[in-house]
């Protein structure tokens, strides 16, 4: 038991928390942006898979890491555009379209991967993002190794939280996005185009999701394998609810979740006699429990999942 508590004093645990949280931060921000504009994007799981594959592949084919991230984001944006076209102008079921995008994007990613890497072959590796020590700050005791020796995409994720919070809360664009999620007719009355705003939000949100996936192959690991996203996208969808659609709370949710994930990984080795599957289950169980706790007082965007048709109520 003391061993389990001792783990909490280990700085490597807390550094791991931020690392594990990074793909979730990107994913939850992306999902949040889509939903704030009124579109549920269940394509997230597939889009993250796509981002993971495309990012890895771009670097494997010789490009540098940042180009890899950019191409991954574009691949996510393309999938997002498909979801947006089906659900916004055509007004089709966001549930079914999203699941369709997830099935399609993951199948396409696996198919393209298998065109390059055949079954049984060792997954080819790339040189991933290395920890980037912030000069001066990374030498601080405790905080240094936790906060200031992460890889570049982790800093990018944290910056994205701040940007998203600022844009949504403080800019005319953010106001327009939020209003589209609450009352698209009012947006139309303001002379803005709710259809364009929704499409834009879904495309941008999906690009963020893909960055989350790309982090997995380009920083957390160094290769791609089928099934590697492992429900992280669905957890992000749960985290958005947990965060009441707020970027700051989303960051807290992602960190909390990552903490449990990092902790259970270490507990597996520290505590003997408990099947490892029980530890692996914990994050998923936790997500469901979190949903139950917050669902009652969740402030869902009013027009979420309601297709907008001009002149129709």
């Amino acid at each position: 038991m003391t061993e389990a508590l001792d783990l909490l004093w280990n700085t490597s645990l807390w550094a791991a928390v931020l690392r594990i949280a990074t793909p979730l931060i990107f994913g939850v921000l992306g999902a949040l942006l889509c939903e704030r504009a009124g579109v549920l994007n269940l394509g997230i799981e597939g889009i993250m898979t796509m981002g993971a594959m495309v990012g890895w592949l771009t670097v494997y084919l010789g490009a540098d890491l940042w180009t890899g991230l950019a191409v991954a984001a574009v691949s996510g944006a393309v999938m997002g555009l498909l979801h947006a076209l089906l659900t916004v102008p055509l007004g089709l079921s966001q549930h079914v379209s999203g699941l369709g995008i997830t099935l399609f994007a993951s199948a396409l990613a696996y198919y393209l991967y298998r065109l390059i890497v055949t079954v049984g072959e060792t997954p080819p590796t790339i040189t991933p993002f290395q920890p980037l020590a912030v000069p001066g700050l990374s030498d601080l005791p405790v905080v240094g190794p936790i906060l200031f020796a992460q890889s570049a995409p982790t800093y990018l994720a944290l910056a994205a939280v701040a940007v998203m919070a600022w844009v949504l809360a403080r800019t005319p664009l953010g106001l327009a996005i939020r209003m589209t999620g609450e009352n698209p007719h009012a947006v139309e009355a303001q002379g803005l185009n709710p259809v364009a705003i929704r499409i834009g939000a879904v495309v941008a949100g999906s690009a963020l999701m893909a960055l989350g996936g790309a982090f997995l192959t380009m920083a957390a690991f160094n290769s791609f394998f089928p099934g590697m996203v492992q429900g992280r996208g669905w957890i992000c969808i749960a985290l958005v609810v947990f965060a009441s659609w707020r970027p700051g709370k989303a960051l807290v949710g992602a960190l909390l979740f990552a903490f449990f994930d990092a902790y259970q990984l270490r507990l597996q080795t520290a505590v003997e006699g408990v099947p490892y599957q029980l530890f692996l289950m914990a994050p998923y169980v936790l997500s469901i429990v979190a949903l139950i706790v917050v669902a009652r007082r969740a402030r869902v965007p009013e027009a979420l999942m309601t297709p907008y048709r001009r002149g129709e109520r």
């Binding site: 549930h95 469901i288 669902a295």
Partner: protein, 348 residues
């Protein structure tokens, strides 16, 4: 141009929609096959031959279609009431696990035991979906997320059980559950093939579901609850009871799929026994227009793609993930096709 809802949907359009969707999906996937350096027409010919080209191929396809009919029905029943059961995969695995567990040491004569095991599988699936349904009704928790997350929990639980208490000691370290007793293996439908009487079970289930949906008060209530919950509630339809009832039926069907697959094909449970039957069931249901008879036809199509793609992969080297691409694409194209059956384009 604008979309205008049709007053009546012509039957020909209803039938044409899935065909058009499938054709579009195959045309789109052809580009990907060409990217693999293979002539798409050759590839599709190999696919057809692999799934329908011989007696053995057809029985393999039908064997694959059996669980798909059941998971497709599970999704169709739920989606009609807008209960988004995405947990078919988990319900399938739990149904399978409980069947293997009880079926390993059950002292009943064959037919009675088989019937009881099917009921056990169904009950397991039903309970597994009743949870998320109750959470939605009681706390307003979105069932999409809970059923999806449960899939991951279930597969870990299955792993835990087959490496622990239900481990098959005769499987030489390969993680597999104890097998169901030989008395409870479903008899072959055609000798010397893998096709088993589970197909008849699935077809019967489709018939019963069709009867319930079209010929009972409950069936009409489920439809009304899905089309317009507020109007349904106003008309005195008890929504919570209807949704819970639908959840029990939907979960039971997916659990039955797992039960039948264990007794008919695999004997024991592994964590890889389903190539995504639960998720593919969603596509089957959508291609079927959520109609039980359509589910059977759509399951045959999806099974043809899956079995055919394996054969095509062996013959041409095209990765068999192309099957998943085709199936996913046909879901998206079907969505668009459905739009044109319910709406028409008008110049305004």
């Amino acid at each position: 141009m604008r979309l205008e809802r049709r007053d009546a949907v012509p039957l020909a359009l209803v039938a044409a929609a899935p065909l058009a969707a499938v054709a579009a999906a195959l045309a789109l996937a052809a580009g990907l096959i060409a990217a693999a350096g293979v002539n798409p027409l050759t590839a599709y010919a190999e696919m057809l031959r692999g799934a329908l080209g011989s007696r053995l191929a057809v029985t393999e396809m039908l064997t694959r279609a059996t669980p798909l009919i059941l998971t497709g029905l599970a999704a169709a029943v739920a989606f009609r009431t807008r209960l988004w059961n995405i947990g078919g995969e988990g319900q399938f695995y739990m149904g399978a696990l409980v069947t293997a567990w009880i079926g390993h040491a059950l002292g009943l004569p064959g037919p009675m035991g088989i019937a009881l095991l099917m009921v056990c599988g169904m009950a397991t699936g039903a309970v597994l979906l009743a949870g998320p349904a109750a959470l939605r009704l009681r706390f307003g928790v979105d069932e999409v997320v809970t059923t999806l997350l449960l899939n991951f929990i279930v597969i870990l639980f299955v792993g835990l059980m087959i490496e622990g208490p239900l481990r098959d000691p005769l499987a030489f370290g390969w993680p597999q559950s104890v097998p169901v007793d030989g008395d409870y293996r479903l008899p072959d439908l055609i000798a010397r093939t893998r096709l088993h009487v589970g197909l008849l079970v699935a077809l019967t289930a489709a018939g019963i579901v069709w009867l319930i949906l079209s010929r009972t008060v409950f069936g009409v209530e489920t439809r009304a609850a899905g089309l317009n919950p507020r109007a349904a509630a106003f008309a005195g339809i008890p929504l919570p009871r209807t949704i819970l009832g639908v959840a029990l039926i939907s979960g039971a069907l997916a659990g039955l799929a797992g039960s039948v697959e264990v007794m008919g094909v695999t004997g024991g449970v592994t964590t890889t026994m389903s190539p995504g039957f639960g998720y593919a069931g969603i596509v089957v249901a959508m291609l079927a227009g959520l109609h039980p008879a359509g589910v059977v036809a759509a399951a045959l199509f999806v099974a043809t793609v899956f079995v055919g793609a394996d054969a095509m992969g062996r013959a041409t080297g095209v990765p068999s993930f192309i099957a998943d691409v085709i199936v996913a694409l046909s879901l998206l194209t079907m969505l668009v096709a459905l739009l044109f059956t319910t709406y028409r384009i008008r110049r305004s």
